[in-house]
Amino acid sequence: MIIGIILGCFLVSTFLLVIAKRITALVHAFRMQSVFLFLYTLYMSIGQQSTELFAVCALVLALKVVIIPLVLMRITRRINTEEDLGLLINPQISLVVAAVLAYLSYLFTYNAMGLAHSSASIAFVASMAAASIGFFLMVSRMKALGQVVGLLVMENAIFLAASVITGGMPFFAEIALFFDVLVFVVIVEVFVYKVNRLFTHIDTSKMQSLKG
């Protein structure tokens, strides 16, 4: 019941990501998604009463809800370019595509993976949909940050998927992954600054000097 609601909200926030037209909006949507991810893990940990899972969801809260969005916002503030995210595909069509991707991930879950119909598998569908949508963001958004966020969304989705179908990876692995995400974001920040300094924009669709 509750879990259903949480997952629903998770998906909705993912769709919000799709229709976001400005970078700040995108970041906000991402934070929202992370929040629901946090809620989900919290629910799980309450259910299982395992300290490890509490630690994990604390990490989710700290990292994905607080730190990373802050970092992203800081980047947007630092590079004082226009806010526009630069959509290669407009929101309406993007939504359609997102729907299609969601359906695809449904097919994937039940035909390819052959999972049994259950709340867990529904959650898995949601996570796959989120992953593919994150992917779609990377493909269809011009600005570098769009791609970064897309990747982070995929990360979230995969985290969700892991905890859904396997009931959470080993604690140590989770920690390592979080650490990795953090490093990734930091390094990407550096590169975004470099790109902005050299190109005076962060529009990756204009970076096409290396061909063939």
Binding site: G114, T166, F179, V183, V188, L210
Partner: protein
């Protein structure tokens, strides 16, 4: 460049250690060694460790002179040079660590780390192209890696659900791999292949490769195509071994062949129309990955050993090529092959080694790649895959034509501008000679121990 020299000594030590380790390992009859859960070493890891160590040493040796010239020509400040060596060490460290690791999550993180570290080395020059290349590299590879993570999760899922082994440690998973759910494993393997394959430069996920290779500093390009691709291949092989018992090797072989043929085809056509020397070499790496994959795909007919041999041969040969190309690029200040011609006159040693390296690369005797290439082809015929073998021969011929046409012009052509006779620094020459020893030596004879190692790897991969 004191850092450089220190580096050389470090990596000489590493190489010596790896050789000694290999000898001990062989003396122990290739028995896998496992230490407190974190470290697991079998012949496969030893083989890749050795390969990595060799190329890293050569690269460190080459870097000394290369960086000195960079600094002298004021392309690089001394501080930046120090930064270079730090990053270089970090990069090599991560790659050297990977073969030891037992925990798949750690392996995954190490691979991601190699991307993040080498991204700096790719974008080292802070000019538009290099930063663009670095950005593409970092993003595309991270996407791939993320898929790989999904693959790992699927493996973990089936091992925890069907085999009730809630662990990401490779050894444990292998022991339980018999009970994996084939349906899931199939999917998972695809994710792994696509994910790590992006990093290993399989077509059609190879697109980052030519950009990164052409923009990186030449020693790093050598490392990238010499070792990095191979290391990710190593990880893929690990998962294939996990999948063996549930879906059988034939399934992975099919996937390998698919990617192999794709890579061969892409490289074959792109090699013909290149203008940039280092891009050319990058595509030839794609081609060689394709060959290696064909070898692995023909595994049941003795292709795996050939593929692994090819891994080593290509690593050393391509390192040589990238280093000599690096010298040329430094001297001519361009990557464009129409602008740099007559290298053999302006830099005889470099030119000669590049020319010989070319023929080593396209697989002419008496150089080492000839043997492995021939072996792969023979196993293709042995398996009765006549159509595929014919296709391979044609695509190889295409690549051959492209490489010979371009590089022979670069090496022998008339110097466009009145190019003065350049001085070639000693460390580069030493690096060439060091690599040349392997290229020629393995062309003439494959040492028994090395062959045993490779064959035990083959047995391992086939799960015998």
């Amino acid at each position: 460049m004191v850092f450089g020299l220190i580096n050389v000594f470090i990596y000489a030590a590493v190489l010596a250690a790896s050789v000694i380790f290999m000898l001990i390992f062989l003396a122990g009859g290739c028995a896998p060694v496992s230490m407190w859960g974190w470290i697991y070493i079998d012949s496969l890891s030893v083989f890749f460790l050795f390969t990595t160590a060799v190329v890293c040493f050569a690269a460190s040796l080459y870097s000394v002179g290369y960086i000195r010239t960079e600094v002298e020509e004021a392309k690089m400040s001394g501080r930046k040079a120090r930064g270079y060596f730090e990053l270089f060490n970090l990069f090599c460290l991560t790659m050297l660590a990977i073969p030891f690791l037992n925990n798949l999550a750690l392996v995954w993180i190490a691979i991601e780390m190699t991307t993040l570290v080498s991204a700096f080395l790719v974008g080292f020059h802070n000019v538009k192209e290099s930063i663009e290349a670095a950005w593409k590299y970092i993003i595309i590879c991270s996407v791939g890696i993320t898929f790989a993570l999904l693959g790992i999760i699927f493996f973990y899922y089936t091992s925890s659900n069907d085999a009730h082994v809630r662990s990401l440690e490779w050894a444990n998973m292998l022991s339980a791999s018999g009970m994996f759910d084939p349906k899931v494993v199939r999917i998972a393997l695809i994710f792994i292949l696509v994910g790590y394959g992006t990093k290993a430069g399989f077509a059609p996920m190879h697109n980052w490769l030519p950009d990164a290779h052409s923009q990186a500093l030449s020693p790093v390009s050598g490392l990238l195509s010499g070792v990095l691709l191979k290391v990710s291949l190593y990880v893929i092989l690990r998962f294939v071994m996990l999948a063996n018992l549930s879906v059988g090797y034939a399934y992975s072989a099919k996937l390998f062949m698919f990617f192999g043929l794709m890579s061969l085809a892409v490289a074959g056509s792109f090699l013909l129309v290149q203008k940039d020397l280092k891009r050319l070499l990058a595509y030839s790496s794609v081609e060689n990955m394709g060959l290696i994959l064909m070898g692995l795909g023909l595994g049941p007919f003795g292709g795996i050993a050939a593929g692994l041999l090819q891994v080593f041969n290509h690593a050393v040969t391509k390192a040589l090529m990238f280093f000599s190309a690096g010298n040329a690029v430094q001297a001519y200040r361009t990557n464009n092959m129409n602008m740099m011609q007559g290298i053999i006159r302006s830099m005889p040693f470099t030119g000669a080694s590049m020319f010989l390296g070319l023929f080593a690369l396209v697989g002419m005797p008496p150089f080492s790649i000839f043997i492995s290439k021939l072996w792969i082809l023979v196993s293709a015929f042995q398996g009765g895959y006549y159509g595929i073998a014919a296709l391979m021969l044609i695509l190889i011929a295409l690549a051959f034509a492209g490489l010979v046409y371009h590089i022979s012009r670069v090496v022998l052509g008339n110097p466009t501008s009145s190019m003065p006779r350049q001085k070639e620094n000693l460390s580069a020459k030493l690096a060439f000679l060091f690599l040349g020893v392997f290229i020629l030596g393995l062309g003439f004879i494959i040492p028994k121990g090395f062959l045993d190692l490779i064959l035990s790897c083959q047995r391992l991969i086939l799960g015998q």
